[in-house]
């Protein structure tokens, strides 16, 4: 068996999602290689070589990998695919965009969002917004997998893998990135944060969202999140959305403020260790999953909470 993990990185370092993916890949057994492709990604490749269990890093550099477009990257992965029984990516916007393109060309199923490895061909994955867990067995020669990063520990350090440069593929010229607006934040990354403070429609406005939640998140060194309703209403940026179709989080502590607890939202946060809900409606469904529920007006309770945390 031989496993190829396609790294998500920013050139300088690996994204934390890649480390969780390597943690999952280690459970498959067999030799573990990492592919790092970018315009200039030597530092990220070096970082991949230092991850425990990795025995080889494939590094491909070309200007047309700078934007990590799926078309060119898929062609590169396919050129290497022959040597592997498993090709594994994180279930992030990067991995979800790329993995099916690879699987289709290999004429194999892709196994999305696995939360557990039962055997090299058998995996558990959530379906129906996490209301059911399916155990699936793949009969294909190559398994193309995306990993729910919150379900796996990050791989450790201490590897000393060699880095091999591989030839880049041609620029297919099918698409081009013409702009990127990334949300700047000094806060921890939402999907990997230990504490998440999320606001919903109950916040009432973008101004309230930041006036009330920023101080709380500051005190807790927390990432900020939001419900779909809050994002749709413009209270928070789109990449704050937690849920079935947003980010999946599993922090130590999740605070849901003014969020009703729709199944699509719960799908993204119900694996948090401790859930706190603040809501003025005592019958809000969020209280069915909350470890600690506080019924009342968030406009009074949130400032009190920030004050109490000192």
């Amino acid at each position: 068996m031989s496993v190829l993990v396609v790294a998500e990185h920013d050139g300088a370092s690996l994204k934390s999602a890649t480390l969780n993916t390597l943690g999952a890949a280690a459970r498959l057994g067999g030799e573990l290689h990492v592919l790092v492709a970018g315009a200039s990604c030597g530092a990220a490749a070096a970082a991949a070589g230092q991850v425990a269990g990795v025995s080889k890093v494939l590094q491909a550099e070309a200007a047309h990998y700078a934007d990590q477009g799926a078309e060119n990257l898929a062609a590169l992965v396919l050129a290497q695919a022959g040597a592997y029984t498993h090709i594994v990516l994180p279930a992030t916007s990067f991995g979800k965009n790329l993995a099916p393109r690879v699987a289709a060309r290999l004429d194999v199923a892709q196994i999305s969002d696995i939360v557990s490895v039962l055997a090299a061909d058998t995996f558990v994955r959530p379906i129906y917004a996490g209301n059911a867990l399916a155990t699936v067995k793949s009969g294909d020669a190559v398994k193309v997998i995306t990993v729910r990063t919150t379900a796996f520990e990050v791989a450790g350090q201490g590897g000393t893998a060699a880095i091999a440069a591989i030839a880049p593929g041609p620029d297919l010229g099918l698409s081009r990135c013409v702009g990127r607006e990334l949300t700047k934040s000094a806060r921890p990354e939402l999907a990997a944060a230990k504490i998440v403070v999320s606001g919903g429609r109950g916040m009432g406005s973008a101004e309230n969202y930041s006036r009330l939640l920023d101080p709380l998140a500051d005190k807790l060194n927390a990432a900020l999140g939001a419900s779909r309703a809050a994002v749709d209403a413009g209270y928070a940026p789109n990449d704050y959305q937690v849920g079935q179709t947003g980010k999946i989080v599993a922090p130590q502590l999740y605070l849901a403020i003014g969020i009703s607890g729709a199944i699509q939202h719960l799908a993204g946060m119900k694996d948090a260790k401790v859930i706190v809900a603040v809501n003025k409606d005592p019958d809000a469904p969020i209280f069915q999953v909350a470890d600690y529920g506080l019924v009342g007006d968030l406009f009074e309770l949130v400032p009190q909470l920030a004050a109490e945390l000192g």
Binding site: P100, Y128, G130, T135, L220, K273
Partner: protein, 250 residues
Amino acid sequence: MRVLVAVKRVVDYNVKVRVKADGTGVDLANVKMSMNPFDEIACEEAVRLKEAGIATEVVAVCCGAAACQETLRSAMAMGADRGVLVESDADLQPLAVAKLLQAVANKEAPQLVLLGKQAIDDDSNQVGQMLASLMGWPQATFASKVVLGGGVATVTREIDGGLETLELKLPAVVTSDLRLNEPRYATLPNIMKAKKKPLGILKPSDLGVDVSPRLATLTVAEPPRRAAGVRVPDVKQLVDKLRNEAKVLP
């Protein structure tokens, strides 16, 4: 230009599904079915392209059992010109659907195929990317804005860190995210009109596609339940519990 839109019939998003006691799947008997919400958004976008004079024809495609005709009628009530049902009672997995859509796309020669980013039943998030790959076309997944002109599609995508804008050569595949648009409700006159629009039916064998499943589902189980929580009367007690009982705060 012609636009193809893929619509799937799924359990309505408001239904809380139950796992069958024998662990073979979820109970779909007497459950409300609807068009996948992301596909409504894709369909709305296609219809808007037609209303803007950019698309000349919108063709909705659905793969699945005979009941999918209803889903296609909904798409036509929103404004699609005709429907194509690829009828099969098999368990159609994303790779099979992508191959069926590829065969339909080869017949219909669209300049753009719109799909949802994800079907809310299997939560796969695969078919659009697979179709683009099989066609050798560019893709833009998770779209929140689509502008067509001059042989290219300029698409804004919702990615993990924020937003990204891609320029794709046409023909191309685009999958919709939640904020692409707000789908319209079909009006009664349009629902009536949709009944008369053409709906073609094909079989996977007509298209030469092998739809055998590649993944076997061994069991389907309930996720672990969270233990019941408690109500706390005030902020002081909440913080005390978080510190001393749950030990998640210093």
